[in-house]
Structure formats: C-alpha cells, structure tokens
Amino acid sequence: MRIDWLIGGPQGSGVDTISLVFARSIAKAGYFVYGNREYYSNIKGRHSYSSLAISDKQIHSINENIDILATFDAETLFQHFHEVKKVAIYDQNLLDTRLNILYGVEKEIADDIKSRLNNNDPKISDVIQYLKDKNITLIPVDIGSITRSVANDLKVSSLIADRTKNTIVLAISMRLLGLDLSFLEMAIKDVFKDKNTVDINKKAIDKANELDIKNIFNLKQIEKDDRVILDGTTASALGKINAGLGFQSYYPITPASDESTYIEAHQIVKTDNGTRNIVVLQTEDELAAINSAVGAALTGVRSATATSGPGFSLMSEGISWAGMNEVPVVITYYMRGAPATGLPTRSGQGDLEFALHVGHGEFPRIVIASGDHKEVYLDAIWAFNIAEKYQTPVIHIVEKALANSFTTLNKSLFDRANIERGILASNFDNYKRFKFTDNGISPRAFLGQARIFYTGDEHNEFGHIDEESVNRTKMYEKRMKKLLLADQEIKEEDRLNVYGDGDIAVITWGSPKGVLLDIMPSLEEKGVNITLIQIKMFNPFPKQLVKNLLRDKKLIIDVESNYDAQAEKVMKREIGIGADAYILKWSGRQIMSDELLDAFDRVLKGNKKVVLTGGR
C-alpha cells in the first residue's frame, strides 16, 4: 500500500515542522514514511511544500500525483490542484482569492495554472470547480472560525492561535486516513517541547475532531519495531559522531549547515569512559573550513567539513594540499542545483565529475555517494575508516534530496561503529612521515608525537621540500599507489548495491536509487525485470563487478539527476560500457515514482532519452 500526501504554505509558516509532526504521527501508528521538503531560497513568504509517502513497507520516494492535498492557503491550492488524485482539504474562506494577486507565483507557473483552468483570472472557486469535475473529494474547512475559537477558549492572541491552522489540517488528514488523533498529539509533544504551544495545538486538534470528516483510507495501527525518524543531515551527523569525529568546520550554506549545527548542539558526546568533546568551528569562509579541518586532522583527530557546491569549489586547493600531504579528512558534499548559486535549495547530481576531479594535480580522491538515509549514516562512518586507512581525502556525496528528506529507520542501526584507524607509527625516532613502503602507506604519527614536516611542495620522506627528479617520481607513485591498494582491499561488493535480477540493467547512484526500488514491483507487474546497479564508490570504481553485472543484459538504462549522465560517463571511461538509454532530470526536484514509471514505458518503447520535469 502507498498513500501520498502533500502540505504546502508560505515559507516561515511552519510547513517544515508540521510535516515532520505529521510524519511522526504516521510513524507512531506503525507505518513507514518518506518525506521531502521543497522550498525557495527565501526566509519568509514564498511557496514551500512537503510531500509525504506512507507505506506499510520501507519506502524511499515521493509521487508527483498525490492522494491527499492538505492546504490552508490559496497559493498551495493553485500550485498543486492538478496533482490531486483523491482528496483536497482547503479553507472555505478563500474562494474569492485570485491567482493574479499572488505575486510570489512565478510567471511560468501562473501561466500553467491559467491554462489548466482555461481562465486568465482564476479564483480558488475555479480550482474547486475543476476538482469537483474530476470527482475529487473536497473537504472545505472554516479555518478562521476554528482558530478564533481556539483563541477564545484559551485566551490567547489570534496571532498565536492562527499558527494552529496547519495543525487543524493535520488532524483532518489523520481522520481521513482513519488514524487515531492521539498519535498526532504525541507527535506534537515530541516536536514542540513548550507546554503552551502543546496546549494550544491540542485545543486545535480537539476542535478539528468535532468536524464531520469521513474515514476514507481506513488505515489501522500496525505493529512496529523500534524506529527513529531522521533527515539526511542528521543521519550524516550521527555517523560522524559514532565514527569519533573530533573536529568539524563549516561555513553557512544550504543545505549543508544543518549537519554542523546538529553536531554543535550535541558536541559533548557520552562515551564508555565519560565524555569526549567535538569542536565545531564556524569559519569565515570555506577556504578556512577545509584548511582548518586539514590542520586538525594532522593532530590525529578525526576531522571533517560539510559544504555544498559553491563551498566545495572554494575548497579545491585545500583538498589538493590534503592529497599531497596524505591527510585523512572527510568532506561531506551536499549536492544541490548548480552551476554558480544555481538552485540553492533544490537538488541535483551535476557535480559528480567535479567531485572526482576536485583540486589540481593527481592524487587519490576517494569518492562515495549514498543512495538513502541508512547509507548516509553508514557511509559517514565508512568515509573516516577509508580516509585513515589510505591517508587521503574522502568526499562523501549526499544530495539535497537526501539531506532535507526524512525517513524511518530501525534503531539498532545506531549501535557502536567499527573503527579502523589505519597504520599508525610506533617508532618516533628519526620519523619519516612519508617513508617509502611497498604499498605506499607510511605509518602515521600525529603532531606532538614526533618531529614531523609537511609541505605542499614535493617532498622527501621526511616531508622536506625536494624537487629532485627521481624522488619526485617515487613520491608521486607512492601517493598514487594507495588508490591501487584501496582498489585491491575494498571489496567491490561494498562499492555498489545490486537489487533484483532481470535482463535489463539500470545504472544509477544517489537518491534515484530509492525511487527505482519503489517502482520495481510495478515494473515486475508489467513483466519488466531489472537488475538495479547503484554505484556507491566512484573512485576506485568497482570495475570487475559492474562488468560482470552488465554481461548479457539486453538493455542498459541510466537514471540520474543531471544533464550529462555523469555516472554513466565514468562507467564508460572505467569499463568501456555505456548505456543504451537515459532517463535524466536536472530541474532541481527529485525524481518521483510515477514520472519514473512513465519514463520506463517510454524507454521500453524505444525512446533513447527521457527528460523528467515533474514537481513544482
């Protein structure tokens, strides 16, 4: 089963928080959820919305077409009415509101709405007529009178009571689903710790409970194991903390900053011996972020930074220094719409090749990309182990689509992490930080333990500047050898995920993985069996395994959120095999299940390239 729900409202009106409250309520009733936030680069006023998929199985994607549209403002109704399949909740006092007075609606969207309604000056009443014609169940609510009675009953200002309008819409949604409102009350308590806020919202729920609302979806509470709900930035932060992070630097940037502020809020970590402390430094820019993280790593501390495209661009010289000096540092790369400032609050996979080549010169850059929230958490731990084993920077890619989406995960996932610190020096006399060894790994000592030299110049085994030709040749090779070693040691099975076993291969990476997983049963029903290959590590690339998996496939389809099919290009470069067809999306919105299913139909009919544009 699957139910898709969407709530919208002006940025700053609490849509983010309230969608999390709703997700928690549903999760408390035993269901799996997957939610996604879409918002403008704006503080207050522009249209933002959250989609939520509800299922009795783990779910990883949203749909463009939704079962329930929950609104309390006019713009959300105008923006999303065409996506509704079953039910729309709306404020009955808005019927006369005209699209043409909503100045935040971009012209292209307004034109689209007008053409859908066949009206140049549409009102909400026209939207309602459209929905009626489509046999959509309509739930008109007098939101103002409810919030006024909340204000009266509790003697609070109308301004404060007005903020419960989204809670009212949630309560109605719960009743449409057939779920007990006590789940919503518990979720409100979890999220709003302040008693007054809880009481006001509780009153709003009671009022909504008095309305005449039918149970349409007939959901029942189901048994569940111990679960948590979290977004991608929190998953990454938890992975880092478990892995022993000691220093995290950052410069404010969407959507990466949430991770660092979460870590700072939890910087005193309980341990078996008492506590340990994480320093979180907000730097003056991303140049300082990467270079302070590299400096901290030299002291033996597990060190990281988190950023997005513009910041990652600034970090490239520092990453090059870290490669030259064999410094284990983790850069969490929250990928968003680029180039330049691009789509600061939207998603994208357009920087894969950049991540693989960041920084001047040749050095081992290990690049991993997570495909869902569980992987974001586990890969954050993995990144440190790899960085320290191979003494080189590791770039961990998490798209905005994962950073700002949230899901339910089993609690046991968060048990103690396995920690591998690589080869450490035990003899500090006459210490050579860059000692030549067979496999290129020199035992690592930390600043303070031995007399150590680092330089960005080519250097000898001690770390002193050395431009001599034979030394240069050897030292260069020593650094590069570590990538060969990583390629030998890291199992190829760990560098990708395979799902299903069909005669069609689908290549993907990152967040589209979850969407593909979600549509696989529907594809099977149509007789389409796929082998889904999700690449997790791009450098070193799992060459042999991908080659084997692609053998004898009748069709190879590449699915990515970029223009250039970058992962497929990497694959072609690495193993000489490319895709036969492409499904690509670079609109900044994440790929959605229904549009992807439709794209498969088109590809299987012979289309070589399908470009997706779904979502507001």
């Binding site: 979720a187 111990d226 679960r227 948590v228 709900i229 929190t234 938890l238 903390i241 478990n242 892995a243 022993g244 000691g246 220093f247 970590v269 309980k270 341990t271 011996n273 008492g274 506590t275 340990r276 402390n277 994480i278 320093v279 430094l281 730097t283 003056e284 140049l287 300082a288 270079n291 302070s292 993280a293 590299v294 400096g295 901290a296 030299l298 002291t299 501390v301 597990r302 010289e317 520092g318 339910t408 609690k411 103690r416 992490a417 920690i419 591998e420 006459n430 930390f446 600043l447 303070g448 031995a450 007399r451 030299f453 680092y454 330089t455 960005g456 110049d457 001690f462 002193h464 500047i465």
Partner: protein, 298 residues
C-alpha cells in the same frame, strides 16, 4: 635526533636570516620543541622557515594565504601545542586577509609573525600589500599605484590582543618580542620589517637604519577603561612618518582567548580536547548515541 635540515636557499643578506635566528633563540629559551610546539607557514620565502629552522620542532608548510586556517584547526584540536606562524605580507594581507581579520575576532592563542618586505620575492618582486603608493622597486615596470595596508592598524581594528613591530636585523629585540608573544594568551601579531636585498631597493638596510628606534611606551591594557587610550597610542605608532618604533605596540590583557570562550560551551575542553581523547576501543566506537537516538524515536 634531528634529521638533516633543508639546504637554506634564501638570498644572501635576506632579512629572513635575522628572523630565523631570533625565532630559534626564542624557542630555545622557552624550551619549545615538537612535543609542545609547532611552526606553521604559508607560501613565499617566509614559508620555508619550518624547513630551515634549527630547532627540534615540527613544521607545517601550508598554502598561500591559508596558514591561519591550518593553525586554527591544529590549535583547536590540540590546544596543548604552542603554534607559531611564519607568514609573508602578501600571504597575510593579500590573499589571506580574510583569515587574518577573522583570527583577530577569535583571539585564539597563537603567534603570527609576518615577514614584511613590501614585495613578492619568490615571484620576482611584484608589489605586496605593504609597499607604499608611488614606490617603484627595481623589478616593478611602473610605480605602485595601490595604497598600502597598515599592518598594525588593521591588526588593532581586527581585535588582536597583542600587536608588535619588530625589525629583522635587531635579533635581540625580535627574540624578546617573539617570546612575549608566545607567552601571551590570545592572538599575537608581529609585523617584522625586513629588507629584501634582491627586489626591494628602496627599503634597504640603510633606509631602515635611519628610521628604526626602540619604543618606550606602556602598551598594556589592564582594564577595559584603558583600551581606547592604548588603541590611540598604537595607531599613532602605526602611522609614524620618518621614524619606525619597534617593540610591543599594544597588549590587551582583558580579552579572553578563544580557548576560554570554548570552555563556556564545552566545560571539559582543556582537559579533554579532541586530540587527547580516545574514540575507539578494540576497533569499536566508544561513543554512545543512545540519548541522541532517543530524541529521534517515534
């Protein structure tokens, strides 16, 4: 044991030799070595200092303009290390100015020794941010049309709690200034004036000889009410014409260093700083996420 040092390839007569000598003596007299101190440098002639210094100390020769960022990470992860930066004027006031100003805001305990010769030596003598307007050093095709940054003035404005001026060839007083800077709690900045015998044919040894004199002032701010008066005194010295006073220009003892500010967020920071604490036991994390996970439980 001390391994073979790099061959020192600074030009004969370079002011860096004086700075190096003063620094070696200061470190020696304070008993600093790799166990308790570190030298961080940027790019340029000054950047090679850690490779040339004849003291049993570690060195991190970083990127152009970024040494302050590296030093910040090192110091915060391991506050038991004394961190001394050798940086150039282009390094600090050109490509790295943002870090220089931001470091003043933090007042983290480290010493920034800026080798100030008015030129970019390693790239053949272009004008640095401290070269006065209108000067045409010998490798400039035209006179410099940029006005100079005043290092002392900008350090004071940025919030450095220790600001000094030194002269490379007065190794005795430079050494004493370095020692005081290292012992100071908070960010210390030393503008070390130095001739560049190869590219700066204006600010030569003789030029400096006519102008240098030792300051005889009380630079200390012992309580905040003295701050404005001492800042004014420092600014007067910063903009002196025809003579150049060397010594400590400003020393504010009332501004808490960044390490202490961190303590208010992390009470155990000084005893249990990141470089000192274990993270695993038998390859297993010792970090307990239980309370964090409980917050997220549904």
């Amino acid at each position: 044991m001390i391994e073979d040092l790099e061959f020192n390839d600074w030009c004969p007569g370079c002011g860096n030799f004086g700075i190096l000598r003063a620094e070696e003596e200061a470190l020696g007299e304070l008993g600093l070595d790799y166990k308790n101190a570190i030298i961080v440098s940027g790019i340029g002639c000054s950047g090679k200092t850690p490779h040339f210094i004849n003291v049993d100390i570690s060195g991190v020769h970083t990127l152009h303009g970024r040494s302050i960022a590296f030093a910040t990470g090192i110091k915060l992860a391991n506050p038991s290390l004394k961190v001394i930066l050798n940086v150039g004027d282009g390094d600090t006031l050109g490509i790295g100015l943002g870090h220089f100003v931001s470091a003043g805001r933090r007042n983290l305990s480290f010493v920034i020794m800026m080798h100030d010769n008015g030129v970019y030596g390693l790239t053949k003598g272009q004008a640095s941010p401290t070269l006065p307007k209108g000067e045409k050093t010998k490798s400039l095709p035209k006179p410099n049309i940029n006005a100079p940054i005043n290092p002392i003035s900008i350090a004071i404005a940025a919030g450095y709690s220790f600001v000094a001026r030194a002269y490379a060839y007065d190794t005795q007083s430079t050494k004493e200034i370095i020692k005081e800077a290292i012992l100071h709690k908070g960010s210390a900045f030393i503008d070390v004036l130095q001739p560049c015998p190869t590219y700066n044919d204006i600010n030569t040894i003789d030029w400096y000889k006519e102008r240098i004199y030792k300051l005889d002032i009380d630079p200390n701010v012992n309580n905040p009410s003295q701050r404005l008066e001492k800042i004014k005194q420092a600014i007067d010295i910063a903009y002196q014409e025809d003579k150049i006073g060397i010594g400590i220009v400003y020393k504010d003892l009332t501004i808490e260093p960044f390490e202490d500010r961190l303590l208010s967020n992390i009470p155990g920071y000084i005893q249990y700083y990141p470089a000192k604490t274990e993270i695993s036991n038998n390859n297993r994390s010792i970090s307990d996420l239980t309370s964090l996970i409980d917050e997220l439980k549904v």
